[in-house]
């Protein structure tokens, strides 16, 4: 054939490339050594700027060189005019831009850019915003750029409205973006805060005084007014119907549905005449330092508060012993008041004549305790959200996000009424997402316990029974402070955790047919008399040692546990638990 263009062979090309690389490396190393030498001689001159620039241009992740440059700039600031520095810094910004093109995720470059922008005598924040927008349009998940952008927005005072529109735009172009959704969640409460008085429906906009988004929702009141919430629900719905497997929108949805924080209050005060003891329960775990007990008008300065188990520094239940004989006479009536000094809150409790114990509390039903996990109060809103999720589930019966959200909505609406459906959905969840089946089991256990607590309170009894429900974990035990009988038979429990010590009034424990190997929580339960632990996994005598702290324990059933095979078991137990009268092995 004629006229063919001769092309260098690949081997030839490779060789050339290799030589090229070697040459480059040599230059690089020489320059690097020169820079280090200059730095150790504390030479802060423009030649050093040039040398470092040379290297950083090809390797912008060389943090030491950026540090050196900063040292040089700080020095130059002391000898040069402001105008000159402005020019130098502007040139530096251009240079960093070039570096970002080499590596858009270079920590060093972004950090240096922030530093230079702050040092710049007359910063041009608009240009920085444009730069960020361009970067994000190329890679909308570049978190370095997001960080830098937040910095720019903060110092340049971009209004929240503009920023919200910015997230609109980014979510519009690609909604699989945690950064955008999260940013939105920080902006909305600032722009459309929930009015202070709850029932007011109107949206109050801060249109006149643009605030600067600085705080994250964790530190701010993060509720959003209802009108805006409805718009957000719609947006999220569009996202989850478009791609139900994209978790970023579901996470945002969870945030929208809210996670109400409970007020910190004393939820229960219990007093036992016989034990001369007071137990106080709080709405959430606290580290009590400033409780004041007033008995019949007399402040009891000397009482010592302790949590239910030495493992807890924070606990929702705290106990104290009253001075001996202060309430032991059954013919006396006593009035107790517990003051929580920090929170300026208190709770009274009267112990009437002839009573051995008394309590005063908010019940879980009164508090709507387990609904408050979603902060949206409006049932109608929740109802319509549930409807659209159910609709989605019909189209995508296997979608875990949808299933989980439906469960949450059902719980918020009517936990007992939806119990059956909820359990069915949990079953599906475990099947479609086996990797997280233990998580779902725990969550399901939690909801079952909540439901049982509600049922117990409606029935106004002190018996908690939840057998044969595949419980994998125990929770909300602080709510069981007054329970005297508990039945947890035929579940999958592996331990009675330290929190179990909150069941301060417990007399009878039935936990047969589980996989319990640890009894840590049976600790200082003053009224515990009977413990049935048939067919569990208790294997060592030492595992039973917590029982020694329960003074009234008389009956213990350990049949079907490995520990019964231990030699001398009876003698050992007699030593450990002298009060036992009834031991079944």
């Amino acid at each position: 054939m004629h006229g063919r263009v001769k092309v260098k062979s690949t081997a030839q090309q490779e060789e050339e490339k290799r030589k090229e690389r070697e040459k480059k490396l040599k230059v690089y190393l020489t320059v690097r050594d020169a820079i280090f030498k200059k730095r150790s001689n504390s030479e802060l001159d423009e030649e050093a700027l040039q040398l470092t620039q040379q290297l950083l241009a090809s390797n912008p992740d060389f943090a030491t060189l950026w540090n050196y440059r900063r040292e040089i700039f700080l020095h130059l600031e002391t000898v040069k005019e402001e105008e000159e520095m402005q020019k130098l810094y502007e040139a530096e910004l251009l240079f960093i831009e070039a570096c970002l093109k080499v590596n858009p995720k270079s920590y060093g470059s972004w950090h240096h850019r922030g530093w230079v922008s702050y040092r710049l005598p007359r910063p041009d924040w608009k240009r920085e915003l444009v730069l960020c927008d361009r970067c994000l349009s190329l890679d909308d998940r570049n978190f370095h750029c997001w960080d830098y952008r937040r910095l720019v927005v903060k110092v340049s005072g971009v209004s929240v409205e503009q920023e919200l529109q910015f997230t609109d735009r980014l979510i519009g172009s690609n909604f699989s973006n945690y950064s955008s959704w999260h940013y939105r969640s920080t902006l909305l409460p600032l722009l459309h805060p929930q009015p202070a008085s709850d029932p007011a429906p109107a949206c109050q906009k801060h249109t006149h005084t643009p605030t600067v988004p600085t705080a994250s929702p964790q530190t701010h009141g993060h509720r959003v007014c209802e009108e805006q919430l409805l718009k957000e629900y719609e947006l999220v719905q569009n996202a989850v119907f478009t791609d139900p497997n994209d978790q970023s929108a579901w996470f945002y949805y969870r945030w929208l549905l809210g996670r109400a924080e409970r007020e910190e209050v004393i939820s229960c005060v219990y007093v036992s005449r016989e034990g001369e003891r007071v137990a106080v329960a709080f709405s959430k775990p606290v580290n009590v330092v400033s409780l004041m007990l007033v008995l019949d008008g007399q402040p009891q300065q000397q009482v010592e508060w302790r949590s239910v188990h030495p493992r807890f520094r924070h606990s929702p239940v705290w106990l104290c012993e009253l001075p001996p004989s202060s309430i032991s006479d059954i013919n006396n009536e006593h009035n107790l008041t517990v003051h929580w000094m920090e929170k300026h809150t208190q709770r009274d409790c009267a112990l009437y004549t002839g009573r051995t114990e008394s309590w005063c509390r908010d019940s879980a039903t009164d508090q709507e305790l387990f609904r408050s996990e979603l902060s949206v109060e409006k049932t109608s809103v929740l109802q319509s959200e549930l409807q659209s999720c159910t609709q989605l589930l019909e189209l995508e019966p296997q979608n875990k996000w949808c299933l989980l959200t439906i469960i949450l909505l059902m719980r918020a609406l009517d936990p007992l009424g939806h119990e059956k459906e909820t359990l069915a959905h949990f079953q599906t969840l475990k099947e479609v997402d086996p990797m997280r089946s233990s998580y779902y089991s725990d969550l399901c256990s939690k909801f079952l316990i909540e439901n049982t607590i509600l049922k117990m309170e409606y029935a106004e009894v002190r018996v908690f029974s939840l057998s044969d429900k595949n419980l994998s974990t125990l929770c909300h035990l602080d709510q069981l402070l007054l329970v005297t009988h508990i039945n947890l038979c035929s579940n999958q429990l592996m331990k009675l955790p330290p929190q179990f010590a909150m069941l301060h009034c417990l007399e009878v424990l039935e936990a047969d047919d589980n996989a319990i190997e640890n009894l840590e929580g049976l600790y200082h339960l003053p009224n515990l008399e009977e413990v049935s632990l048939k067919n569990n996994q208790i294997s060592k005598i030492s595992d039973l040692s917590p029982l020694a702290t329960c003074p009234k324990l008389t009956r213990l059933d350990l049949r079907g546990n490995p520990v019964t095979k231990t030699a001398d078991i009876e003698a050992e137990l007699a030593k450990l638990l002298p009060s036992l009268t009834d031991l079944l092995l």
Binding site: K6, L138, D139, G172, T242
Partner: protein, 662 residues
């Protein structure tokens, strides 16, 4: 250099510079064949060409002239070059691939200065004047294609006609002046006149054939593979629209579109996404469609419980197949569409800046770079066929020179009817419309839109429409260039005029456009329109022609949106010529080329392109520069180079649309 200085021997002679021929030329030249590439026209790309507005008017003139003077074949001077054992096969000297050309102008012809001067006077003109010159359309409908274009083809004629109409329009304007707000006044000033179209005519690049590039179509792959992409710039189509329930709506085709769509309910969004996800790898889900493969796609869509809305979007705008095409075709088309999404942007299509005519020229440039020789306004009168072998040995060019070749590649329009096995053709109906605003008013003006228009009546064809803004470098600022395409069932005007009048405001008289507040006024106003039919020979194979076996006919362009047909054909022909050679391997980087003075091959880059330029200038003389694209092959490409081209590579997939608007 005179024509008879052409070398007398080539490996391949290629007649016609359309896409297929140009790709073959580039491929042959690239692997070292000596290529002579000819075109009888004075512009490149044949029916793939793009014209300036003025260039198009000249093209219309030429068409008209050709209709009037029947051609005569002259056999003289070269008979002695034919030997006894040879016979000649004549080629057609006229191009009859275009028919039914009709032109309509609605733009007023008045410069702004004139308007200002005249307005007080004209304001008092009697109404009768407007009636008189109201529209050309009626006049044109009377005549056949050639007759009706007579007046309009000539810019001068138009000027005169429009002058009157504009006067009357002016009278309206003056009448309404008192109630106009200042803003409206400004808008009126911007009104595009015919004179402005002429004056700014160089800003137009009007494609004869309207196509887009599928981001993962054969053409884009070839452009990347062969490095020809470096000669052109591209822009991503910004949105896909459809005409649905009488309204123009955006088609949600990407994930972001579906998310943002206001027309779909959330359930529809889910259904659509689910269906599209299924289509992406439908082969993996045989059970879903195996009972439907031969059943119409529409039935399948219905069966999938897709709403009427979604059926429309998928059938007409995504799969872009007809209602009765089988499911398997619909699924494949949908899959292709989806695979093309996201490579360069949110739609699956690219458009070459400066018009589709750039693409064949890019391949011609590539051919020239590797030594191909180009002559425009230079054709072949007849083939010299060896009686014994039945093969074409040589050709006699228009100058009577005999040039030998081992292969002859020719565009279909050069073939005479007596060499065809059948002389009935499919046709493509085309309309080119210049309007004053975009069909989707809310858009920014940077857009290129594809609009699918399903059949207005059950019997009428589905129409494909591409609306180009001035950012595509194909029309002047303030105007939009709209291409309509469908396979013909009647004349182009019969097929497409109903769509034009549905989507645009076609002034029935030039005065009407100034009526304020009417609903018609919301639609874009047609300033100028052209209708014509183009022969669609894409169904023909080599066996459809009675020609020597080493003559390869290039058929097409076909009526589909992409160019796969033409690229496939080019590759097929190339492999018939050279079964063992690679088709368009990547051009080497300039730095990897060994320059070897003795062999003279290294100098190809400078030397040959100059040589080839000289040939063309010798051939065309001063006329060479008359038309855009009529100069040497490297020039059109260079004009885009100077804007700074972006090279189409795989790296660009993540980046924003190619060819950032200059």
């Amino acid at each position: 250099m005179a024509a008879d200085n052409l070398p007398s021997e080539f490996d391949v002679i290629i007649l016609g510079t359309g896409l297929t021929e140009s790709v073959i030329a580039a491929a042959c030249s690239r692997v070292g064949l000596r290529v002579l590439h000819l075109d009888r026209r004075n512009y490149y790309a044949g029916n793939w060409a793009s014209f300036t507005f003025n260039g198009l008017l000249s093209w219309i003139e030429e068409y008209k002239a050709q209709q009037q003077t029947p051609s005569t074949t002259s056999e003289q001077g070269w008979n002695d070059q034919i030997e006894d054992e040879e016979e000649v096969v004549f080629l057609s000297s006229v191009d009859s691939s275009i028919s039914n050309l009709e032109v309509f102008s609605y733009a007023s012809d008045k410069s702004e200065d004139d308007e200002l001067l005249n307005s007080p006077v004209v304001g008092s003109l009697p109404k009768a004047a407007e009636e008189m010159n109201g529209c050309h359309k009626e006049a044109q409908d009377l005549g056949s294609s050639s007759a009706c274009t007579q007046g309009d083809g000539d810019p001068h004629n138009l000027e005169v006609k429009n002058q009157d109409s504009c006067l009357s329009e002016e009278s309206k304007k003056t009448d309404q002046q008192p109630i106009r707000s200042p803003e409206q006044a400004v808008e009126v000033k911007k009104k595009i006149t015919y004179a402005m179209l002429l004056k700014e005519g160089r800003r137009f690049n009007i494609d004869l054939m309207s196509k887009l590039l599928y981001s993962r179509g054969l053409l884009v792959d070839l452009l990347i593979k062969s490095n020809v992409s470096r000669y052109a710039e591209f822009k991503n189509i910004s949105c896909i629209l459809t005409c649905h329930n009488g309204k123009v709506e955006q088609v949600p085709c990407s994930r972001a579109d579906v998310f943002g769509s206001k027309q779909l309910t959330v359930v529809e969004k889910r259904m659509l996404m689910k269906f599209l996800t299924f289509c992406l790898d439908f082969e993996q889900h045989q059970e879903e469609f195996k009972d439907f493969t031969e059943i119409p796609f529409l039935e399948f869509l219905k069966c999938k419980n897709l709403t009427e809305n979604l059926q429309h979007f998928i059938l007409h705008s995504i799969a872009m197949v007809s209602q009765d095409s089988p499911t398997i075709n619909g699924l494949k088309a949908t899959q292709h569409f989806l695979r093309c999404l996201g490579r360069y942007g949110n739609t699956p299509f690219l458009f070459p800046l400066y018009g589709l005519g750039e693409i064949p020229q890019c391949f011609c440039r590539m051919c020239a770079v590797f030594g191909g020789i180009y002559c425009l306004r230079h054709s072949v009168q007849c083939l010299v066929v060896d009686k014994e072998s039945g093969k074409c040995k040589a050709v006699i060019d228009t100058h009577g020179q005999r040039i030998s070749c081992s292969h002859f590649v020719v565009e279909d329009s050069y073939i005479r009817d007596d060499q065809r096995m059948q002389t009935t053709y499919k046709k493509i109906s085309r309309a080119v419309v210049i309007t004053d605003r975009s069909i989707l008013p809310s858009q920014s003006d940077h857009q290129i839109s594809l609009v699918t228009v399903p059949p207005l009546e059950p019997s009428s064809p589905a129409v494909r429409m591409v609306e180009l803004s001035s950012f595509s470098m194909t029309c002047m600022p303030g105007t939009y260039l709209v291409h309509l395409t469908c396979s013909s069932s009647g004349s182009a005007h019969e097929d497409l005029a109903p769509v034009v009048s549905r989507l645009f405001h076609v002034p029935s008289s030039c005065t009407e456009e100034s009526i304020q507040g009417s609903e018609e006024n919301e639609k874009p106003v047609v300033l100028w329109a052209m209708y014509f039919n183009m022969r669609d020979t894409s169904g023909f194979e080599n066996s459809s022609y009675n020609l020597p076996s080493n003559v390869h006919v290039c058929t097409g362009p076909d009526d589909s949106l992409g160019s796969d047909y033409s690229i496939n054909l080019a590759e097929l022909v190339f492999h018939q010529l050279l079964p063992d050679e690679e088709f368009c391997p990547p051009a080497p980087n300039p730095e990897d080329i060994i320059y070897d003075g003795d062999q003279g091959e290294g100098a190809i880059f400078e030397g040959d392109s100059q040589k080839e330029e000289a040939v063309i200038e010798g051939e065309d003389g001063s006329q060479a520069h008359k038309q855009h694209g009529a100069t040497c092959s490297s020039e059109p490409a260079e004009s885009t180079d100077s804007i700074g081209h972006e090279i189409l590579t795989e790296y660009d997939i993540q980046s924003p649309p190619l060819g950032n608007s200059p």
